[in-house]
Every structure is written in C-alpha cells, then in structure tokens.
C-alpha cells in the first residue's frame, strides 16, 4: 500500500498538458506497489496509471525499467506500456519526483493461486524471458549474492531480535551460497519480483504483469526459483508439489530448461528464499512498531528457506523425471 506523494489538481493539469490524452475525468491514489506512489488517471482516452517514483527507486534505473516495459509490451507481453508525451518522452517530472504514465491493465490478482494459475505464470515467465532477449539495455542485480552479503552486514548484529540464532543461520546460508552459487547458467532479463500481487488474471489467462522495478540481468532459472517461492507454497508454508510441477512444466513448454538449470533449482530456490528473507528481515527491524503499514513477517521465508535446504533433488519440486 502506498501513495506517499500528494499531487494537486493544478500540478496534474499542467503535467497532462504535455500529453495527447484529452481531458482529465478522474484521479485517485491507488494502493498498488509499495515502493512508489501510484494513481488511477482517467482521461477521455481511457484509464491510465500515473507513477511517481519515490526514494527507494534509483532514478538512474528508470530508463531501463520504462524501456523494458515498452520493449516487452511491443513483443506482446501484457505489461504496462509507457505513454509518450508530445515530445516523445516517457520519463518526466511531477511534484518534484520522476514520473511516468503507463497503460491501465485489467484483471485481478489472486491471493491463493491454484494449480492453473501456476501453470499460466510459468508460461508467462518464459514468454517474458524470451521476449526480453532482444532488449539492449543492462542493469546489474543489486539484490544478488554480493548484495545479500552487504544487506546482511547492515543488520547482522540485530538479526537475533527476530529469532534466537537467526543471525548465525543467515551467515551459514550465505556461506553455503557463496561457495556453490551457479554462475554459468543461461542469463537474461529477469522480472525479479513476480509475486501474485504483481500479476493480474482475467478470463483464465494472464492479463497483466506489473512492477518491473526489480528487473535486471541475472540467471533466468533464478527468476523461476523466485516464482517457486512466491506461487507454490500453501498458506501453512508447505510446498505444493503439484503447483511446482505446473509452474515448471508451464515454463518448460515455452523455454525448455537444461539439465544444469533443473539440477540448480534447489540451490537457486534457497537463494531466492534468502533474498526475500533478508529484505523482509531488514524491513522488520527498521519499521517502527506502531507504523500503520506493517512489514511482512520474515518467518514465512525462513520456513521456505528451510524447506529448500531439505531438498536434495530437483524432482522434489515436481519435475517429471
């Protein structure tokens, strides 16, 4: 839930005068994304989303994110299409912040994905990976192995406030991953944050993929490992092997996985679990107790990490052998 920046009607009207979007007919802050301020912007041309980029996004990365969305949309991926102003620009300024208008995507996020959703998202992820092959820009993953160590170091001395022994547990896992992290698997542009709240479904298809603000160049199968974590566990944090199989089969149907990629899945899934565990632990320790927006409980990903630690073979994720 967001909307951090207030935009006055006068600032907005002046901003919109740069675009060919017709008259403004409605404007409402929406609770979408946690990093930025998002608004539903309805004009004579239809509904759009206006995003103001807040502090957590590096302005230097914005051309990458916006150009990526434009590239993917042009390749047929259902992602927001940045809208150009009359001078052809998509990245602008509003209320003292970088700002962009993108198309509005219909559809509904699912809270508890079913097997069919996992199959669809596996396919969509592979389509996204393939569509991004022709994208020419580069962005390093700041939340990969080196980033995890740097992030952990900022709160290693406080991690035990979350659970006894938690700091040692994280240090051990980081050590394991630093020794064994695969570096020679197929790489490309990954979404990096493809959680159910970043996907819309409509009429039994994926109608929208949003929030590309963690997209970067990294190991493609790592993106699939993020989805295994985000889509295939039940609310009691037990892994649903049928969902895992549906996700991986959906992905493989579009972009077949190599034996090396399949064999790396347990390790990549540990890394993905650790990545979200670290950011959630950080947010947990740095959010005031009485803040109105509660950070997500890090224990969910602690339990997911433990599941992946127990996995010995890729088959445990549901892969048919």
């Amino acid at each position: 839930m967001a909307v951090y920046t207030d935009v006055s009607d006068e600032e907005l009207q002046a901003f919109l005068s740069d675009y060919d979007l017709g008259e403004l007919v409605a404007f409402k802050g929406i609770a979408e994304g946690v990093e930025n301020s998002n608004f539903l912007l309805e004009t004579e041309r239809g509904p759009f989303i206006l995003t103001l980029y807040e502090k957590r996004v590096n302005p230097a990365d914005l051309p990458f994110f916006l150009n990526l969305m434009e590239h993917l949309a042009e390749c047929g991926i259902n992602c927001p299409l940045p809208v150009h102003d009359r001078d052809g620009r998509v990245l602008k300024q509003l209320a003292g912040r970088p700002a962009a208008i993108v198309t509005f995507l219909r559809g509904i996020s699912v809270r508890r994905p079913k097997v069919a959703h996992c199959a669809l998202i596996g396919r969509s992820l592979a389509e996204l990976h393939k569509a991004a092959e022709g994208f020419g820009m580069h962005r390093v993953n700041t939340l990969s192995l080196q980033g995890w160590r740097a992030l952990f170091d900022t709160f290693a001395d406080k991690a035990d406030l979350i659970a006894a022994g938690f700091s040692a547990e994280l240090a051990d896992e980081l050590g394991v991953l630093e020794d064994a992290w695969p570096t020679n698997l197929p790489a490309g542009i990954i979404h990096g944050d493809l959680f159910p709240d970043n996907v819309f479904f409509l009429d039994a298809r994926v109608s929208g993929i949003i929030d590309f603000y963690f997209a970067c160049r990294d190991t493609l199968a790592y993106d699939l490992a993020i989805c295994l974590n985000a889509w295939c566990f039940e609310h009691d944090v037990s892994f649903n092997v049928t969902k895992g199989r549906a996700l991986i089969d959906g992905y493989s149907a579009v972009r077949p996985l190599s034996a090396a990629e399949l064999n790396a899945l347990p390790l990549l899934s540990r890394g993905a679990a650790l990545r979200f565990l670290l950011t959630r632990a950080y947010d947990w320790l740095h959010t005031p107790q009485n803040a109105l927006v509660r950070p997500k409980d890090p224990h969910e990903y602690r339990r997911k990490l433990r599941f992946h630690q127990s996995v010995r073979r890729a088959e445990d994720y549901g892969i048919a052998t």
Copy 2:
C-alpha cells in the same frame, strides 16, 4: 488515505455473486476517505466504489447514510448511488465488515478552490439541503455542541502539548458557544464535512459530492459555516472575502438565507472551526509520532477560529448589505 482491510479475490468473487454486475474486470484499493477502506471495483457494467466500513463508523448509522445517498441521488444530486443486490439490499458484509457498493463518480477534487468553485459549491450545498427535505430518517449530530465538550474533556489535560495556553483557549471558546449557540434556526439534513476533497468538479460543474459519513440533522446554516471554513481561506489562512461572498451568494440563490441565519454566521463559523480544531487536536495527540499517515495540523483551525472570533458582523464574510 485509507484501505485498512484486505479483501481476497475469492471473498470478493463470492460477494459479487449476489449482484447483477457482470464479471469483475479490475479491483484496486484507493486512497479516498480516511475513515473507511475504499476500492475501485470495475465490472462489465462499469466502474464502482466498494466501501468497507471500519471502526470509526457506527454500523447502526449505515442505513441512514446509504438511504440518504439513495434519496439524494434520486433527487438529482450528484452523489454516489448505492447499488442493490438481487435481494434489494445495499448494506452487506465483506471480510468481516459492513460493506456497500456505490456508483463511481467522475471528476477531480480541487486543492486550491477558486472563486468559481466556491460559487458552485454554495449552490450545490443549498440544492442538497433542499433535496434532503423529503428524507424521512433521523440522525443526531454527535459532533455538535455537546459532543465538542465531551471530546474536549478527553484531552483537556494534554491540549497544552500542542501549544501553550491551548487548553484554556478551547475551554473559553466552548463556554462562549455554550452560552450563545443558536437553537432556533432552520434545521434539516446537513452534509457536515463538505471539504474540497469530498467534491469532484468536471466541465465547470459539481460532478460529485461524496463521503456522507458525518451527515445528520442540524442547523442548515451551520453546514454553510463549515464550507466557509473549508473553502474560503487561502493557504496562508487569510479569509478571502470574495470567495466568502461567492459561496454565500451561490447558496442564497437556491435557498435564501433569513436575517437570523445571516446574523448567526459568525457564531456558526466559530463553532465549525472549533469542531474541526477539536477533532484535529484529538487526532494529533493520539497518532504515534512515526505513523506513516500524519494527522492534519490543528494550528490551521486554531487560526481560522481566531479569525471568526474577530468577526463582528456577517458582512465581514462578504455578504452584500
């Protein structure tokens, strides 16, 4: 800014199955109103607003609010029209809370109202008062004179944390109003909270009046006094007499004000300023320092109150004599 309650896609689909609204096509939490959780709900039939009523609203009052909106909408007032389910009900339950769907109103709120907006809102307020004449339900104003005293008593000992001498200032003003508050002026249904963020404009007309959750039976001219406070001061908290005249003239063109009502305006405006000063001071003292949603600064209404205290004649508000 709100959205306190999370609604899952499954709960929502089950809820919508009671209505003839067609398939759901989009659903987003919106930052509108501060008392309740509001969602943009788009179905095949178009956009709607779904409201979940949170703790600050007394569920026993909801039939009054919803029936009032329906009555006003039927009388041609541009306010949200509650949507009936197949059994004819408008007040339902969702996610453990009272809930209702209303129509979506187009238009934009203005941050800095101009003279023309004040004229339009004066006219709309009078039209609302006249349209409500035939409304049969009753609700006492819990935030009138007796309510102010009760609210003040809850924080009288802490008020000086806001400003030195603030508690005595509030006590003195309450005493003055308790002695002089007019009780024999024309009464009817008032909106009670007609601030610029509760009004939408489109094509130089009032396209929407929302947030009826303070509506009640009270002195009609007191509602106008609330608008004088909410619409006719500049950002530096100086009173703009041209806006005051536009508001009062707009109102009078639809519902002429009696001499008694005009003469009472300075006192009613003091009461209106005190009402918002008290609730803002209460919220200021009861919101944690580091909460993400900051309460509104009570000093704005302290300065407005002082202006009204200095007013000797209704002419000072811009009334032509």
